[in-house]
């Protein structure tokens, strides 16, 4: 996979968002380059989630512009973002625990045999086979695609979510606090996964308030505080101490 142009894959210009009187994003501008692993850090309420939600289509900005692969975009919902190739993996919001792995893999994008008004019979054999393949591709070994996601550990769930994003050929993967509540070993596995995205030509936006994790797997760090970007550096040009002072 190669990026069509060498400019930024996502360009954010002067983005504003208000929540009933609170100015959550105060004119944020940010370029995300293709094939880069961008770490987005900041304290609670710094505006990270708002920015992420806008990029993933779950919220709309009040002002400002976003261009994606050079074209201006206006996502009406998460669907639009997913179809464009931006996939978001939330802390725990991206899987339904009471459903099987195969069904979770394809929520909202089920392969159907003939449909009427978008409703049709799912191709369950295809769903099983493709989820087995997708999970194996991220080097995860699960018992069966019919196991319930609720039976998986936190790390395995993130693995399935990442496998899902890769299966649908996303170009940008936004990972919102993917390492929260994970055991040490599983955290390492998720971080390893983020590192390997680069080889696959996928741009990663890694949101976390754990600096160590960000330093471990990102090329560039953007820090936010009080709705603004307060720092934007290459990882090798900065240090933990410097980031802590600006937050």
């Amino acid at each position: 996979m190669t990026a069509p142009n060498t400019g930024p894959i996502i360009q954010v210009r002067n983005l504003h968002k208000w929540y009933s009187g609170v100015h959550a994003l105060k004119g944020v501008s940010l370029d995300i380059n293709p094939n880069e692993a961008l770490g987005l850090v900041g304290d609670n309420g710094a505006g990270k989630s708002t920015l992420i939600n806008i990029l993933s289509g779950t919220q709309r900005p009040d002002d400002g512009e976003i261009t994606y692969e050079g074209r201006p975009i206006h996502f009406k919902g998460p669907r639009d973002a997913m179809e464009a190739g931006i996939e978001t993996i939330y802390q725990y919001n991206s899987m339904v625990p009471t459903m099987s792995i195969a069904r979770n893999m394809f929520i909202g994008r089920e392969p159907v045999k003939a449909s009427v008004f978008g409703i049709g019979i799912m191709d369950q054999a295809k769903m099983r086979a493709e989820s087995v393949q997708a999970i194996a591709d991220v080097d995860l070994h699960l018992r069966s695609p019919d196991a319930l996601v609720g039976e998986l550990s936190g790390g395995q769930r993130q693995g399935v979510a990442i496998a899902r994003a890769m299966h649908f050929k996303s170009k940008v993967m936004i990972l919102d606090e993917p390492t929260n509540h994970l055991a040490v070993k599983e955290t390492q596995k998720v971080i390893g996964c983020v590192k390997s995205l680069k080889d696959l030509g996928i741009t990663a936006v890694f949101v976390s308030h754990n600096m160590h994790h960000v330093f471990e797997c990102c090329d560039r760090i953007v820090a936010m505080a009080r709705g603004e970007i307060v720092m934007d550096r290459r990882v090798k040009d900065t240090s933990l101490e410097e980031i802590l002072t600006v937050l």
Partner: protein, 328 residues
């Protein structure tokens, strides 16, 4: 062996089926072999579709994470709309759809209010319970309208059929609809969305599922099934009483829950709801035939409901702890 056990424990409707078989045998013996004779089966199978259709709708809606207390009232309103129109000389081909449209509208209002104002469906549908019942009484004037003889094509809906007239046509309708809804839930992408919406709403939303529309659709399906069930009952009885279906909402919830549907949504099957409804009918009928005071029925129903939920919760927790391969 362990694998089979796990599959079994993950399917609470199987436990309900086993219980149903045992109970049937007990009642058959206790009633001196009256329980499974032709006349009694005929009576039970004639009543079953009406309750079971309501249970199917309520089960679907509960899997979607919502609740409908108004099914009993819609069960009365739908045939009343039809009955009043028939009594005023409208043809069946107009009156019957008009009744079902009334049910669909009630379901739409339930769903739209619940979703739009994000309030518990318990409240919206409790409101609809009173509103629809009141409308039923108002449009009937308090008396059942006199439906002209032959105005309803009862041959299509309630006539006896099958060997020894064992079934009524309503049973065929019920089986058709139940299979259709069951397949829709388990095989179609819409079914996947219903389960995701009820199972974990934020995930469904973040994956771009139109959860509001899915919920409203489920409310409408639930409502129209209740309305159709009420229409079947009226065709069987011949006249729409304004009071039919009272207390049915809670029986339907009990049926769904006994069949393994979780109140929290996401878990359950249509088959489970049907088995639950059959169990309720079997207990009702079996107690009478065993010469037990009929007033014990609600006691048995209540105890069974609570027992079933405790059992299902326990089985699920147990099954979750068994790390066994369950690939089919």
């Amino acid at each position: 062996m362990k694998r089979l056990l796990k599959i079994y424990m993950e399917k609470p409707e199987l436990a309900a089926i086993v219980f149903l078989v045992v109970l049937t045998m007990v009642f058959h013996v206790r009633s001196n072999a009256v329980f499974l004779n032709l006349q009694n089966l005929q009576g039970m199978l004639g009543l079953l579709p009406e309750v079971a259709l309501v249970a199917v709708g309520v089960t679907l809606l509960m899997i979607c994470g919502e609740f409908d207390l108004s099914v009993g009232s819609v069960f009365a309103l739908t045939p009343m709309v039809m009955g009043v129109m028939l009594a005023n000389g409208w043809p069946f081909a107009m009156a019957f759809p008009a009744g079902l449209i009334a049910a669909l509208v009630a379901g739409f209002i339930n769903g739209a209010l619940t979703v739009r104002f994000s309030i518990p469906s318990f409240i919206t549908t409790l409101g609809m319970l009173f509103v629809a019942r009141s409308l039923t009484v108002v449009i009937s004037g308090g008396f059942p309208p006199v439906i002209p003889a032959g105005a309803m094509p009862r041959g299509m809906f309630t006539a006896f059929i099958g060997p020894g007239d064992l079934f009524r046509m309503s049973f065929i309708w019920f089986v058709l609809i139940a299979v259709l809804i069951g397949l829709m839930l388990s095989r179609t992408n819409f079914g996947n969305w219903v389960r995701a919406t009820g199972g974990f709403l934020p995930a469904a939303q973040s994956m771009g599922i139109p959860t509001a529309r899915v919920k409203i659709a489920c409310f409408m399906i639930c409502s129209v099934l209740a309305g159709f069930a009420g229409t079947l009952q009226v065709m069987r009885l011949g006249a729409p009483l304004p009071s039919i279906g009272e207390g049915l909402e809670l029986q339907a919830v009990a049926a769904a829950v006994i069949g393994g549907t979780a109140l929290t949504g996401g878990i359950g099957t249509i088959l489970g709801g049907i088995v639950g409804a059959i169990l309720i009918r079997v207990i009702d009928n079996g107690l009478v035939l065993s010469r037990v005071d009929a007033n014990w029925f609600k006691m048995a129903l209540g105890a069974l409901t609570v027992f079933a939920v405790i059992m299902n919760t326990w089985l699920r927790a147990k099954a979750k702890r068994m790390k066994v391969e369950t690939q089919k």
